[in-house]
Amino acid sequence: MLLEALDGDGTVVFTAAAASVQVQVEPVGRWLEAYVKRRNRNTSASFQELEEEEASSEESEDEEFQLEEYPMLRTLDPKDWKNQDHYSVLGLPHLRYRATQKQIKAAHKAIVLKHHPDKRKAAGEQIVEGDNDYFTCITKAIETLSDPVKRRAFDSVDPTFDNAVPSKSEAKENFFQAFAPVFERNARWSSKKHVPKVGTMESSFEEVDNFYSFWYNFDSWREFSYLDEEEKEKAECRDERRWIEKQNRASRAQRKKEEMNRIRTLVDTAYSCDPRIKKFKEDEKARKESEKKAKVEAKKREQEEKDRARQAELEVARLAKEKEEEEAKQAAQLAKKEKDIQKKAIKKERQKLRTTCKNWNYFGDNEADSVKMMEEVEKLCDRLELTSLQSLNETLASGSKEDSKTAVEKQVQEVNAQLQREREAEVQARQAARSADQASGGGGGGGAGKGWNEEDLQLLIKAVNLFPAGTNARWEVIANYMNLHSTSGMKRTAKDVINKAKNLQRLDPLQKDEINKKAFEKFKKEHSTVAPTIDNAVPSERFDASGSDGNVASWTTEEQKLLEQALKTYPVSTPERWEKIAGAVPGRTKKDCMKRYKELVEMVKAKKAAQEQVAVKSKK
């Protein structure tokens, strides 16, 4: 319930309200969105209010504008309406392209009220009948200006527009005076609003850059349909219309091109004359120069630094090298000295030996012995080391003639033995080299040292046939097969096998025949011995049969079964295991059983190894 006003009170403000404060709010909710949107648009109230404001401002302008009567109005020829200035006809020559639709409408209304034929008739004026009255011009004017497309066409060729572009010489003197009005004038063709201004001498680089990029990419709405020579509406048939359209389009394009050229020339001229651009360029140049200078200097400094570093390094290396050389020299000298000393000593000792031997007359009784002994002694002198020479001399010096003789002879024998050994070694080495040559030369014939006997060869052929080309890891498999089945006990690698197989391929047919024949013989021989076991043998036993060929009476399947059974029944921990096993297998001794067991174990191992090897290799 409100209070009652007291007498004498009036509406009054006492004090100022507290100022608003700023707080942070959560960025959620539709009201905040609306608020932010409003704020971003920089409007204090709702958008509608803003629009209302705009409308009101327009209205106020309306009140101000005045019409200027066109003095030539009555003399206008309606047939020549294309060349009339529509704005002048409507009395808006001062507003032209800036006139709003509202203003145009108002102007038209005013002018119609005054010049309508009916009005004039009422005023007692003579009216020309038909379309020839100048009122038609007014109608044409409003027709053109009220339609945005037509108005744009007319505006584009506005007769009052100055298309001139200042020349360079004009611009040089006073750039801003010359160009500012020109750009301002041409700004009206821009389809974008907010055309950047020329600016002043103080404009920043960004501003100038923005200005020129805008004008270089100038998007003009100016078009030249108003100047069309032929009117499309006048055409009588479709083809003619088309032809007219084509004509018009060509001329419009031509004009548009000219217009674009004009703008381009304008901007180019401005750009070339702009003192700011010159300044910026100079600045840029100076900056680049200084940068370059700095870079060059930095590089130079760096180079110097590097040179210095390298020099220092070289110096160090040189010093080190010199030192090394010096040391090496000294060491060499030392070694030489030592060697000299030793040489001298040996010489001395040899002399001593010779003299002693001479003193003893080379322990010989006759001349021949002496000569032989002399030779031997010479040999001794050559071959013996310093120490042994010394010891020999000592014995010679201390002992009697006989002792000395025996000592010398002993030495001589030793030396001879050594010589002999050396010679033998040499011979052996030579032989080895020769045989190695032979071996590397391809292993020659079937029986040449490498242990390829007939059996193996046969086995190889068999294996090669068994594992045809295309088998996975073929040669490894063959090698393993060979190792498993060979009786020669030779371990062969895949490489050996390949070599051999290649050799075999190269062998002359004669040799092949021979091998085949031999194989047949062998087969016959084997067949006769193995015959009893072969019909009931499993593959593993066949191998066994060939392996233990002739050593022991072969094991029959039953015996084998019994043995396996016995091995299972008597585990390793059983005391006197083998006796019991032997007891379980009739007709076999303990030794037989053990041997058989070992063989079996080896066989299984070999098989496993071969399989594993192949598996590993094929995995690789």
Binding site: M1, L3, A5, L6, T15, A17, Q22, V28, W31
Partner: protein, 506 residues
């Protein structure tokens, strides 16, 4: 236009979609509306969600959880160190950033918290997109109020890496308010809302002021030491004691058994929110012994009574700090899964006897729904740049009052425009004056918080026609952005009007 709202919590994440003017939580591929924020690393795959939780007993060292605790933090941050001590996964320092050391594969892998968050976000995105049936990626993501800039950025980057187009990050309490459509009526006056969020590992209480459709956080309190897991822990301890009493085995040293027990206790706790008693059954808990135990709700409440008190306490302290009393709060919003506990709800209701307790929506989904609503608002509009996310607005500093008398003749003040109203603002009131009076006087006052009102202006309306019924005075109060007030009064029957403009002090 469809959009997605994501609540990425410490223990659980929830995703809601906005479609055809509605926001709904969507269930993930295992049928749950809430996805646990757990990522289990196996040698060939990463598992997100409930499957990771189920496999956690076996794969504890390679299961990463509560990644939000370390997201965007440096290694030396105390929070990181706490996380490192608690988590079962190895946390290592690489370039001052924490990384998880995952040993699932042949050699240890180092995974950054952002990568873990990315996987979770990816899962959420898939969930939302399968529900929408289109590849909409526009999303609003909620963050706790206390998140620092670096953490927000890390979260945003993780979400973007997962393929989301993040429209905005909004605070969790504000999202909860949106979900309940509080204060979204622009001309509603000022109101205070308390948002009580008790999640898996953290408690946060926030007081917000809603005015003119905008929310302002007045004060907030966060406690990372209490949450749903604390209750589970207490229950698990109890179960362990029961087991020991029955079978004479101590399982508290057996980490795996304790984890099983925690899972059992968790389930029992959930059922206790709706049932009077729950059965907890753990297969082969210790030494192959199966454990079965019945827990009543009363027992559970007794076990957790101190924890409940601890989680209620901050409300009082916060209100005191903010200078509000329990009566000033107009609404209380509950969120977070643990706010389902009936005893807690009862305790809060006791604290605010006259206040509407909003818990109609599932509390662990409220925030995601709010985020989805906000996403629906934002999608297809030009959005604020990230650094502009907290918006500053001009608000009125004082209440604008008019002096009136009540029936007994005592002076009362009626608020025309409350303080904190976003400016510019316009409020329309119809004031009534005695019908027999021929003149009325509107005395306009302003009042700073609790001070004595200061008289601003007096408006006199004269020459009214006395009549039987009361005079209705149309009063429009407008306040501009700078704080200047404009009051206009019109008596409709006679058309008599008075206008006063009060400038703002600068």
């Amino acid at each position: 236009m469809a959009a997605i709202g994501v609540h990425f919590g410490y223990t659980c994440a929830c995703v809601a979609i906005y479609k055809d003017g509605r926001a709904d939580v969507v269930a993930n591929d295992s049928g749950d509306r809430v996805t646990p924020v757990l990522v289990a690393y196996r040698d060939t795959e990463q598992i997100v969600g409930i499957a990771a939780k189920q496999g956690r007993v076996r794969n504890a060292a390679n299961t990463v959880g509560k990644v939000k605790q370390v997201l965007g933090r440096s290694f030396d941050d105390p929070e990181t160190q706490t996380h490192k001590a608690e988590t079962k996964c190895q946390v290592v320092n690489r370039g001052e950033k924490p990384y998880y050391e995952i040993t699932a594969g042949d050699r240890p892998e180092y995974v950054s918290p952002s990568d873990v968050a990315k996987l979770v976000f990816h899962k959420l995105k898939e969930t939302a997109q399968s529900a929408l049936g289109s590849d909409v990626a526009d999303a609003v993501i909620t963050v706790p109020f206390e998140f620092a800039h670096a953490q927000k950025r890390a979260l945003r980057e993780a979400a973007e890496a997962a393929g989301f187009h993040v429209l905005r990050l909004i605070h969790e309490p504000a999202a909860a308010l949106l979900a309940y459509d509080i204060g979204q009526d622009c001309h509603s006056g000022k109101s205070h809302v308390l948002v009580y969020k008790l999640g898996g590992t953290s408690l946060s209480v926030t007081v917000l002021q809603a005015n003119g459709g905008m929310f302002r956080v007045l004060n907030t309190h966060t406690d990372h030491s209490i949450g749903g897991e604390s209750f589970t822990q207490a229950l698990a301890q109890h179960l362990a004691a029961e087991f020991k009493r029955t079978f004479k085995h101590d399982v508290s040293s057996n980490a795996r058994a304790m984890m099983k027990l925690m899972n059992g206790a968790d389930m029992a706790k959930h059922s206790l929110s709706t049932l009077g008693s729950a059965n907890c059954f753990v297969d082969s808990l210790h030494d192959g012994i199966d454990f079965e135990c019945n827990v009543s709700r009363a027992r559970f409440e007794l076990l957790c009574s101190s924890l409940f008190n601890k989680s209620i306490q901050p409300i009082r302290a916060l209100l005191e700090q903010t200078g509000l009393s329990a009566g000033d709060i107009n609404k209380v919003v509950l969120c977070g899964g643990s706010a389902r506990i009936p005893r807690l709800q009862q305790m809060i209701r006791d604290m605010f006897p006259d206040v509407e307790l909003l818990s109609s929506a599932p509390p662990d989904e409220v925030i995601a729904v709010g985020a989805a609503l906000q996403a629906g608002l934002l999608v297809g509009r030009e959005s604020l740049s990230p650094e502009e996310e907290s918006v500053t607005v001009d608000v009125s500093a004082t209440d604008i009052l008019v002096k009136e008398v009540d029936e007994s003749g005592a002076e009362v003040f009626t608020v025309l425009l409350p303080s904190g109203t976003p400016l510019p603002a316009r409020r329309h009131h119809i004031l009534s004056g005695g019908g027999k009076l021929s003149s009325l006087c509107l005395e306009i006052y302003q009042r700073l918080v609790a001070e004595q009102p200061e008289k601003l202006a007096k408006i006199i309306l004269r020459d009214l026609q006395p009549r039987e019924e009361n005079h209705d005075i149309d009063t429009v109060v407008t306040m501009k952005r700078d704080g200047s007030v404009h009051v206009s009064c019109v008596e409709p029957s006679t058309g008599r009007s008075e206008v006063v403009a009060i400038a703002a002090s600068s």
